[in-house]
Symmetry: C2
Subunit: 188 residues, 2 copies
Amino acid sequence: MSSRQVQVLEAAARVIARNGVRGLRVEELAAEAGVSTALIYYHFKDRAGLLRRTLEFISERADRYTADGVAGDVDPRAELEQRLLSELQDDPSVRENSTAWGELRASAIFEPDLRAPLTEATASWVRDTAELVRRVSADVDADEVAERLTALVEGLSERWLSGSVTLERARGLLVGAIGAELGARSPA
Amino acid sequence: MSSRQVQVLEAAARVIARNGVRGLRVEELAAEAGVSTALIYYHFKDRAGLLRRTLEFISERADRYTADGVAGDVDPRAELEQRLLSELQDDPSVRENSTAWGELRASAIFEPDLRAPLTEATASWVRDTAELVRRVSADVDADEVAERLTALVEGLSERWLSGSVTLERARGLLVGAIGAELGARSPA
DNA sequence: TGCTCCTGACTGAATTTTCAGTCAACCCTT
DNA sequence: AAGGGTTGACTGAAAATTCAGTCAGGAGCA
């Protein structure tokens, strides 16, 4: 993938985070990326292709920043917590990513083309989370717990972004859910 | 409200469930409702007015089906479960409702005008749920639990609609969450 | 080295498509 | 005959998509 394409995809993520998928105008994207509209068609075929590639791009990028920065933690419980909380941070890139992610998920409801990459990205996130859960406790169904916690993160994230909860509250609720699923904090 | 208007609003709910708020074309709606586009402008002024009325229509209808069919239940735990599960059903009107709701929430991220009614509707749902939670158990923070469970329902609902989980799985996960939050089933 | 040919990246300027929104004129009822 | 309800035919603007062509650089070759 050429650096030009990356440049366009980064711009697409920004524009989507700002205006939504439906509010993405190819011309505006071109301006944001500093290229011509025609170049976008040259590289991505059409608007739908651009969207599909953007979704892939965003989910790869999410993998990266989720994996980063927490990696070597020794306490699995703390690591799980941090991983999930990393989706609820008032940081421009997290915000951008979550917003774009939510938009794409919402769009996937109506555009079957987007579903496959979305499902795969979701499953991969759930798997990674389940792995962590497994390390925290052997007494629970890790897949179930992981699927619930990640779905909850999505629900809270959307409420946060749409102004229905504060970030602090959302984070507190998430920590509470981890407690409810895995038992209260630090075993003796 | 004339029957003509109801006819259009019902059609709008169907079209939104099929294509989303963003994908609603006035012309398509007209065809679905079996009327002319001009009539829609006559009754609803413009697309935004139509959307507003449709959202009101849908949420009133949702209140009805949520309240219905569960009302007189004696066991609070069962009632709570049923209320929450009622959002995850493969019934056209539930689907329409959930879809429209998700769309509205997603749109609110970019359109501050929509935030106030959304926040209020969410808060009201959380309050009602907390009331039920309170009746199930006095040992938990009912507001927290209710906020988490409803956020989880939203997350699961979106995953269901976008094809990332099956309906059965989503329902099972939700029941599991209630268990994790409130302790396992039926006290002695 | 200097020349021609070729290709992939890229653009500006159309062209085409898609939509919300309007309007003048027809129903019906009453 | 008057007025609310209804429509088909349009319009204008905004967007998507295409097109004809420029340009930089690389491969082959004299």
